[in-house]
């Protein structure tokens, strides 16, 4: 049998290789899954992972998908690194969309506030407010932030549902549950003519690089890493755990809100019950694929965006159910966690012995 033996020091090589090994294992398991579904595995994998690069529009769509994943993944990487488990990014994303939607729908075009920054800031603030609930409950009362942030995801989805079916519904929308289309000023400028790729892509890159620098070069970054990795040491150093919990949750909530605001204003262009909040859960995998490093999360976002677009293509070309994407994501996270064991442990083949 195989035994895991602790290494004297974490392996640097494995820290770099483990995400790549995990992706490789996911591809192998994916091929088996496709074969089990009666597909030609090579063809299915090609559709999943290469077809998103087939033409310029599709490549732009990959980046469009990657923007919210990168924004949320970078925030969650910081959060998880600090051992704060915000798994409600989907809810903060939804609130961001609602906040941005309120600004876009109710600020008149002639107002001096009728500019893109306003809905984006409103969205980020709403996301932060939604994340402030688990932050306050954890720091004040010691309530588990995992459960609170997740419960608020359901509440956010129902709030959005109520708004678009009730008070904010477009009366001339033929009964569809959706708001009026947002005005042009609330749309982020398009980067490449003929695609949906907007300047939000720069925001995602800036957020990832900025947070990457913060984590490696600033005192705040050090505090978060110590609080997460060695809480006792952090207490001796006099770091306030409460301050770090607030920082981590507000940061990740704000970025999720911003992602939701960008999605609502610039990708969807109105509010409707389905605005892609599921990305908040995918972003958890993005953060882990980036080894809880914000810059790594940027690369992780690209990988998952490719598989998301590939999954949509597979639905059309191969008639595969859309849930295959969820299976893939779950498998990827399984393999990532298993491969991370290689960083701290050395696998060794030993003869089975009787205990």
């Amino acid at each position: 049998m195989i035994r895991l033996e602790p290494r004297a020091a974490p392996s640097k090589l494995m820290a770099t290789l483990s995400p790549l090994i995990a992706i490789l294992l996911t591809l192998i398991a994916g091929a088996l899954l496709f074969a089990a579904l009666g597909q030609n595995p090579w063809r299915a994998l090609r559709v999943y992972f290469l077809s998103p690069f087939d033409d310029a529009y599709m490549r732009a769509e990959v980046l469009v998908k990657a923007v919210p994943l990168a924004l949320m993944g970078a925030g969650l990487a910081v959060c998880f690194r600090a051992n704060v488990w915000n798994i409600g990014a989907a809810g903060q994303f939804t609130l961001g969309a609602i906040g941005a939607g309120a600004a876009a729908l109710f600020i008149p075009a002639e107002s001096p506030f009728a500019m893109l920054a306003v809905p984006l800031i409103a969205g980020a603030l709403c996301g932060m407010a939604w994340a402030a609930v688990p932050a306050a409950l954890r720091t004040r009362l010691g309530v588990n932030e995992i459960l609170v942030s997740l419960m608020l995801t359901y509440v956010a989805a129902l709030l959005l549902d109520w708004l678009v079916r009730g008070p904010w519904r477009n009366p001339r929308g033929f009964g569809f549950p959706q708001t009026n289309a947002f005005p042009d000023w609330a749309h982020a400028p398009i980067l490449v003519e003929g695609t949906r790729l907007h300047v939000g892509a720069f925001l995602a890159v800036a957020a990832a690089l900025g947070l990457g620098l913060m984590m490696s070069r600033t005192l705040r970054g050090l505090r978060l890493r110590v609080t997460g990795g060695a809480p006792r040491a952090a207490r001796f150093a006099g770091f306030s755990a409460a301050g770090d919990v607030w920082f981590a949750l507000l940061l990740s909530g704000g970025l999720a809100g911003l992602a939701g605001a960008l999605e609502a204003t610039s990708t969807v262009g109105r509010l409707q019950p389905e605005i892609g909040a599921q990305a908040g859960f995918t972003a958890i995998i993005v953060a882990f694929l980036g080894r809880l490093n914000p810059i790594g999360a940027l690369l992780g976002a690209l990988v998952l965006a490719v598989s998301a677009i590939g999954g949509e293509n597979a639905q059309i070309l191969l008639n595969l159910p859309k849930n295959v994407a969820g299976v893939f994501q779950g498998m990827l996270l399984f393999f990532l966690l298993a491969c991370d064991a290689l960083i701290n442990y050395r696998p060794r083949l030993v003869a089975r012995r009787r205990a």
Binding site: I87, L147, W162, G330, F334, L337, N344, Y345
Partner: protein, 301 residues
């Protein structure tokens, strides 16, 4: 009122199954956040088996087995590879959501005959409020019987004591010769079986059909139930009933003339969960978490 009471007991059943299973796993020191995923896979497997065999019992069995298989995946990661338990549980929930959707894709909307009451109808009619006592299917009684059995096991049985030792101080338990990892493995697998049964109850009896994501956060509410029950069986059962009452509000509130948008009543269980967690937090009377909960343990020798 009798109808509301019966609806409440029925709605409490999936929560009770899942919360009891998670309670046992957590008392052994393992936090499995994958309850929602295990319930979903349990629900879809139970539905498929019940539909193709025509047997509710076989369906329930398949649900439990599917939960065990899912829990085995979690155990491989969290116990075998010493992975972070929170992350492994999230992976299980994401994987379970996808897998259940994939397995059930061709079964959406197919009706299934509802699970029949365990006792003959004449019993329920023989006494006042008989329906509230004898009107349920077998799984409801199974859930309550297992609550009693688990209470006895944790409080009185020798093996229950060992399980609690693994959850409170793994190192000392190991030093005393307890097979900590094996105890935790069994506790996690049991948790999977119970979560699978909880899911099976949803797709076989509560709403006898399969719908994607039909657990609607019940796995997470079950996790919350364990916390505010203070890891005690009786309180978890009481909590399940209380929460079931809140989930039933969306069907009864309009009839009682309580005016609010339907989305508000649908959100009520989630808001109530947060409220309950906040109100019960920090109370010393509320019981306390197993000391080694969520901590990775690797035997040194």
């Amino acid at each position: 009122m009798e109808a509301f009471f019966a609806a409440m007991i029925v709605a409490a059943t999936p929560l009770l199954f899942a919360a009891l299973g998670e309670l046992v796993a957590e008392r052994s020191g393992v936090l499995n956040l994958g309850v929602e995923g295990m319930m979903l896979v349990g629900a879809v497997c139970a539905f498929i088996v019940a539909l193709s065999t025509g047997s509710t019992a076989l369906g329930a069995f398949a649900g439990a087995a599917a939960g065990v298989a899912m829990a085995g995946l979690f155990a491989l990661l969290a116990l075998g590879f010493s992975a972070n338990q929170a992350a492994a549980g999230l992976a299980l929930t994401i994987f379970g959501g996808g897998l259940s959707g994939l397995l059930g894709a061709s079964y959406v909307g197919v009706p299934l005959p509802k699970a029949q009451p365990l006792f003959p109808a004449s019993w329920a009619e023989a006494i006042p409020y008989g329906k509230a006592i004898f009107g349920y299917d077998a799984m409801v009684y199974l859930a309550w019987a297992s609550a009693a059995a688990i209470w006895w096991f944790l409080a009185r049985a020798r093996s229950g004591l060992k399980l609690r030792a693994a959850g409170d101080n793994a190192e000392s338990g190991h030093a005393l010769g307890l097979p900590v990892l094996r105890i935790r493995l069994l506790a996690v697998l049991f948790g999977g079986a119970m979560a699978g049964l909880g899911g099976a109850y949803l797709s076989l009896a509560y709403t006898p059909m399969w719908g994607e994501g039909m657990t609607a956060g019940r796995g997470w509410i079950a996790l919350a139930l364990v916390v505010f029950a203070g890891w005690r069986v009786g309180w978890a059962a009481a909590g399940a009933v209380l929460f079931a009452a809140v989930t039933q509000l969306q069907f009864y509130a309009q009839g009682w003339g309580w005016r609010a948008p339907s989305q508000f009543w649908a959100a009520a269980p989630y808001l109530a969960t947060i409220l309950a967690l906040a109100l019960l937090a920090g109370r010393r009377t509320a019981g306390s978490a197993p000391a080694a909960l969520g901590r990775i343990f690797r035997p040194s020798s």
